[in-house]
C-alpha cells in the first residue's frame, strides 16, 4: 500500500529521531516570516505548537471553540505526566518508558513514534519547570514523582490533582506571550467546520463565528489540527460538553484517513451514572489507585443487601471482601492498566457483585491507606479529589469507600499520521489526541499530557520545517481563491440543511440515543452480532436526525443548539465507522474487547498473525462504504508478548 508510507527514518531505534533531525530541511528566519500556519485547538498540543511556531518566527493563526484558549479540555487532566527522568532511582529509563507504553498499548502502536515520545519526555518536564509550572516537590526542593497504572516505577510528575490545568496554563502563557507580541492571531469562539484543499494540499479552514454566526475563510500554507478526541460520540463521557470530532471529520471527508476509530479508552475510576438527566461523567484520578484498594463483596447476598440499602460497605468483614484486582493480578494489583481494570469491574458487576443502587459500581477504599499513612497524608495527596467526590455524591470518602465505575475517557484512534505527524493529505498535520499514533489499543495513565506536549513543543516544530522549506516561494493565500469560496458555500449549505429540517426532536434527545447504542454495542464488550446491530441502528437514527431535528432560533446569532447539531451530525457518521472498525478487528486488544476472542480466564486474546496492523479508513462519499487500508506494524526492537500483569 504505497499510500501509507509512515516515513520512519533509517537506523537503530535509539538513533532514528537524531538521524531525522540531522537530515531534515530547514527554513531560514527571513522566510519563516512569509509562511502562515493555522493551528486548530488550543489544548496542550495546539497551544504548545502555536507558541513554538510563533517563537520560531512563523505567522500563526490559532482557533478554539471556547471563549479563551486557556479552557481547552486538557485542563481537566488530573493525575500527572510521565517522563523517563529516573529521579527516584528506581530503574527507569527511556527504553523502559517506551517499552511500557508499547506493551500498555497492547502492541498496536508504531515503535519509532513511541520511542521518540519517550526520548522527548524529559525535555517536556524541563520546559514546563522553566515556564514556572508548580510541580509537586519534596522538602529538599526537588521534584516529586508518583506511580501510575501499567508501570512498576514512579515516573509521574504532578501538580496536586490539577496537572493538566498547570501544564495547559504553562502552554497558554507561552501562547499569550506570542499573541501579545502579534505573532499569533487568536480566534476564540470559532468552530472549524471544513478544511480547504488547493491542488490537493491543505491550505485553510472554514470557521463559524459562534457569536454572530458569520462563516469565515482562513488561509495559510499549512494546517495543524489539535482538536482532541471523539469520546462524546457516547453522549456520556468525561470529555467537556463541547469536545467534538467535527474538524477531524471534515478532514476525513476531504481524504484524510481515519485510523483505529474503535480504540476507545474506558477509564475505570469514574463516578457512576445515577440518572437519566445526567449530562456528563466525572473522572476520579487514576492516582487514587496508588493508595485506594478496589473491592466488591465476596458474597452475592451481601451485594444484594447493599444495593437495597440494607447494609453498608463498612459492615462487610475483611474476609468477605473480594479485592479482585489484587486477586487476579498480584504483580500489578490495583495498578493494572485502565483497560484491564475496567473490564474486571464490569466482569464483577455483570456477575452480580456490583454495589450502589444500580449495581453498576465497585468500591475504591482508602481505609487501609488512612490507617497506614494517617488521614493528613491521604488528605495532602488526594484532598481536592475527595472534596470533588463529596460535592457530587454527597458522601464522605474518608469514612465510606468511594463508588466508581468505568466511563468513556479518551480515544486512541484518530487521523492517520506518519512519523512527521502529517496525515496522508499533503500539508495537513494532526497532533495530540486527534491523531492515532502513540497509544495503540490502550493508553497508559499520564501519557496523554506527555504526548500532547511532545507533539506540540518538540516534534512538530521540527517536522513542519521539512514541509515548509519548499513552500517559501508560494505566495500567501487570501481566502478568496475559488476553492475557499466553494468550501464556504458547502458549509453554508450544510448549516441551511440543518436549520431547515424543522422537525420535533432536540439535538440532545437524539445524541442520548446514539450514546446508548454506542455504549451497549460499541462499548466495553463487543460482539459481531451487536456491532452489526449498531451499524443498522445508527443508520436509522441518522435518517431520523435529518428528518426530525428541531433547532430553535436562527443562524446569525449565538445559537448553541445549532453548534451541537453540527457536532452530533458528525458523531452520527463517526459512530458507524467505529462499529465497522470494531467489526473487522476479529481479536481483543487493549480497549477493544470482542467477547468471541478471550482466554478461558477472561483475558483479551490478541491475534497478531492477522491483526497486527493499523486500520486506516478512506471516505468514499455519503452512503458509500468506506475503504479499509492497512499499515502493518513491525516490531524490530522489542519482542511481542502476551500482555501479562499477573
Amino acid at each position: 500500500m504505497t499510500k501509507l508510507d509512515a516515513k520512519i527514518p533509517e537506523g537503530p531505534l535509539t538513533e532514528k529521531w537524531t538521524n531525522y533531525i540531522d537530515k531534515q530541511k530547514l527554513v531560514n528566519p527571513a522566510n519563516k516570516r512569509k509562511l502562515d500556519i493555522i493551528v486548530v485547538g488550543t489544548g496542550l498540543a495546539g497551544a504548545s505548537a502555536a507558541a513554538s511556531f510563533a517563537e520560531l518566527g512563523y505567522k500563526v493563526k490559532a482557533f478554539c471553540y471556547q471563549d479563551s484558549p486557556r479552557r481547552a479540555h486538557s485542563i481537566a487532566a488530573q493525575g500527572g505526566i510521565n517522563a523517563a527522568k529516573n529521579y527516584p532511582n528506581d530503574g527507569d529509563n527511556i527504553y523502559r518508558l517506551f517499552y511500557d507504553t508499547i506493551k500498555g498499548g497492547d502492541y498496536r502502536a508504531r515503535e519509532a513514534n513511541v520511542y521518540r515520545l519517550a526520548q522527548v519526555s524529559n525535555n517536556i518536564i524541563d520546559q514546563c519547570v522553566a515556564q514556572g509550572v508548580p510541580f509537586a516537590r519534596e522538602y529538599g526542593g526537588l521534584l516529586d514523582n508518583r506511580s501510575f497504572g501499567g508501570a512498576q516505577v514512579s515516573r509521574t510528575f504532578y501538580a496536586r490533582g490539577q496537572t493538566g490545568q498547570q501544564l495547559l496554563l504553562g502552554a497558554y502563557s507561552a501562547l499569550a506571550r506570542q499573541i501579545g507580541k502579534g505573532n499569533v492571531k487568536m480566534y476564540t469562539r470559532r468552530d472549524m467546520l471544513d478544511l480547504v484543499l488547493v491542488d490537493g494540499r491543505a491550505r485553510g479552514i472554514i470557521t463559524r463565528n459562534l457569536v454572530n454566526g458569520e462563516i469565515e475563510r482562513h488561509a495559510a500554507h499549512t494546517v495543524v489540527l489539535a482538536t482532541g478526541g471523539y469520546g462524546n460520540v457516547f453522549f456520556l463521557s468525561t470529555n467537556a460538553m463541547g469536545s467534538n470530532v467535527t474538524p477531524v471529520w471534515a478532514a476525513y471527508k476531504k481524504g484524510a484517513f481515519f485510523s483505529n476509530p474503535c480504540f476507545v479508552q474506558i477509564h475505570p475510576t469514574c463516578i457512576p451514572v445515577h440518572g437519566d438527566f445526567q449530562s456528563k461523567l466525572t473522572l476520579m484520578s487514576e492516582s487514587l489507585r496508588n493508595d485506594g484498594r478496589i473491592w466488591v463483596p465476596k458474597k452475592l447476598e451481601d451485594a444484594e443487601k447493599i444495593r437495597k440499602g440494607q447494609m453498608k460497605a463498612k459492615e462487610i468483614k475483611e474476609e468477605d471482601r473480594d479485592y479482585y484486582l489484587e486477586r487476579r493480578y498480584p504483580a500489578f494489583g490495583n495498578l493494572v492498566p485502565r483497560d484491564v481494570a475496567s473490564r474486571a469491574a464490569k466482569e464483577r458487576c455483570d456477575a452480580g457483585y456490583g454495589v450502589g443502587t444500580t449495581g453498576l459500581a465497585v468500591y475504591l477504599d482508602f481505609s487501609e491507606a488512612i490507617g497506614r499513612l494517617g488521614k493528613n497524608v491521604v488528605e495532602a495527596r488526594y484532598g481536592n479529589l475527595f472534596q470533588m467526590y463529596e460535592k457530587i455524591v454527597d458522601d464522605n470518602p474518608y469514612e465510606t469507600p468511594m463508588m466508581i465505575y468505568p466511563a468513556i475517557h479518551y480515544t486512541m484512534g484518530g487521523l492517520w499520521v506518519d512519523y512527521e505527524l502529517m496525515s496522508n493529505v499533503n500539508g495537513l498535520y494532526v497532533l495530540g489526541e486527534a491523531n492515532f499514533s502513540d497509544h495503540g489499543a490502550n493508553r497508559l495513565g499520564a501519557s496523554a499530557l506527555m504526548q500532547g506536549l511532545a507533539d506540540g513543543y518538540f516534534v512538530i516544530p521540527n517536522t513542519i520545517a521539512n514541509y515548509l522549506s519548499d513552500q517559501i516561494h508560494v505566495p500567501r493565500f487570501t481566502g478568496n481563491e475559488p476553492e475557499f469560496v466553494q468550501t464556504a458555500k458547502e458549509v453554508q449549505d450544510r448549516l441551511d440543511r440543518l436549520m431547515n429540517v424543522k422537525g420535533n426532536q432536540s439535538v440532545d434527545s437524539i445524541h442520548k440515543r446514539l450514546g446508548h447504542i454506542m455504549w451497549d454495542y460499541v462499548g466495553m464488550a463487543r460482539t459481531a452480532e451487536g456491532l452489526k446491530k449498531a451499524i443498522s441502528e445508527i443508520q436509522t437514527l441518522r435518517k431520523e436526525f435529518w428528518s426530525d431535528l428541531k433547532i430553535p432560533g436562527n443562524q446569525n446569532e449565538y445559537n448553541p443548539e445549532l453548534e451541537k447539531a453540527h457536532r452530533v451530525a458528525d458523531f452520527l457518521e463517526l459512530g458507524e465507522l467505529m462499529a465497522r472498525d470494531a467489526l473487522i478487528r476479529e481479536e481483543s486488544c487493549g480497549g477493544h474487547f470482542r467477547e468471541e476472542y478471550q482466554t478461558e480466564g477472561g483475558e483479551a486474546l490478541r491475534n497478531d498473525k492477522d491483526f497486527m496492523f493499523v486500520s486506516a479508513w478512506e471516505y468514499k462519499g455519503e452512503d458509500q462504504e468506506p475503504v479499509l487500508h492497512k499499515e502493518s506494524l513491525k516490531y524490530e526492537f522489542i519482542e511481542v508478548k502476551v500482555r501479562n500483569y499477573k
Binding site: A76, V129, P134, F135, G141, M186, M241, T282, K550, P552
Partner: protein, 252 residues
C-alpha cells in the same frame, strides 16, 4: 423538586435585557445546577422557544468557563465550587432562584447569561508568563525550589480565570485574578528575573481595561471557587511597590 426561575434574558450585546420567569418541575436533587437548566432548555425547545444561553464546558469545576450569579452570589450559595459543581440538593422544593450573568463593565454580555471575558486574556498577554522559548532550558532539578514556596505558587496558580472575583466586587476589580498570576511567579526563582516588569505591565493593562480599584472588602476571596487568598493581593502590592521604587531609583 419544583422550582421557579427568574432568569436574565438578553438577545445580544446591543439588545435590552430583562428578567423572565420560568417554572421547572420534577428536578432531581442529585442533578447539577446545569442539568436543571438542561431540563428547562429541553422544555423550551419543545415549545419552540429560544433556550437560555449560558457558558459551560468541562462541568467538573476546572475549565473556568461557567459563571452565573445565583441568588445574588457568584457561583451560587455553596462555597469553594463553580456553578457546574453546584447540586440541586442545596435548594429546597418550591424555591425561587434568581439567575443573572456576571455584571462588570469589562465583561460585556454576549447573550443571556454569557459574557465576554477576553479582558482576562489581554491581562495575561501583557505579562502573565515567564519569557522562555521552547528548548534550551536547564534540567528540571537544576532549579531547586523550597517546598513551601512551590506550594504557595501552586495555591495561586489554581486560579481558573472564571471572573467570579470581578463579578462579586462592588468596584469590578480584577486584583485577585492579577495577583494570583503575579504571586505564582513571584514565589518561584524562574519568575524572579522579570518580576518587576511583569507586575507593572499587568497592573497597567488591568487599569486600561476598566477594572476598578481594590477596597479590601475580601468579597473576592469569599466567592473564589478555588478559595484563592487575598494574601496574594498583598504580595502583588509589595511586588508593585518594589518595582516602582526600583524604577525611580533607575531614573535617578
Amino acid at each position: 423538586m419544583d422550582l421557579t426561575l427568574k432568569i436574565w434574558r438578553q438577545a445580544n450585546s446591543q439588545a435590552k435585557g430583562k428578567m423572565v420567569e420560568y417554572k421547572v418541575s420534577n428536578v432531581s436533587p442529585d442533578s447539577s445546577f446545569f442539568e436543571m437548566l438542561d431540563v428547562l432548555n429541553q422544555n423550551l425547545i419543545e415549545k419552540g422557544e429560544d433556550p437560555v444561553a449560558f457558558d459551560h464546558d468541562c462541568r467538573e469545576g476546572i475549565c473556568g468557563t461557567c459563571s452565573l450569579y445565583i441568588n445574588g452570589r457568584a457561583h451560587g450559595p455553596d462555597s469553594g465550587i463553580t456553578t457546574c459543581q453546584l447540586h440541586m440538593r442545596k435548594f429546597k422544593d418550591g424555591d425561587t432562584i434568581y439567575i443573572e450573568p456576571w455584571r462588570a463593565k469589562p465583561f460585556p454580555i454576549i447573550k443571556d447569561l454569557i459574557v465576554n471575558r477576553g479582558a482576562f486574556d489581554e491581562i495575561i498577554q501583557a505579562g502573565g508568563f515567564v519569557s522562555v522559548n521552547t528548548g534550551g532550558v536547564p534540567d528540571a532539578n537544576a532549579i531547586p525550589i523550597p517546598k513551601p514556596d512551590a506550594d504557595l505558587a501552586m495555591d495561586a496558580a489554581a486560579c481558573i480565570g472564571c471572573g467570579a472575583c470581578v463579578a462579586t466586587c462592588k468596584n469590578a476589580s480584577a486584583m485577585l485574578f492579577v495577583a494570583a498570576k503575579v504571586s505564582q511567579f513571584a514565589h518561584l526563582p524562574q519568575g524572579k528575573v522579570e518580576a518587576s516588569i511583569r507586575v507593572q505591565r499587568m497592573v497597567a493593562k488591568m487599569d486600561e481595561l476598566g477594572f476598578g480599584n481594590c477596597s479590601n472588602t475580601y468579597a473576592c476571596e469569599a466567592e473564589c471557587p478555588k478559595e484563592i487568598s487575598v494574601s496574594h493581593i498583598a504580595k502583588m502590592n509589595r511586588e508593585f511597590l518594589f518595582a516602582k521604587v526600583a524604577a525611580q531609583a533607575n531614573e535617578k
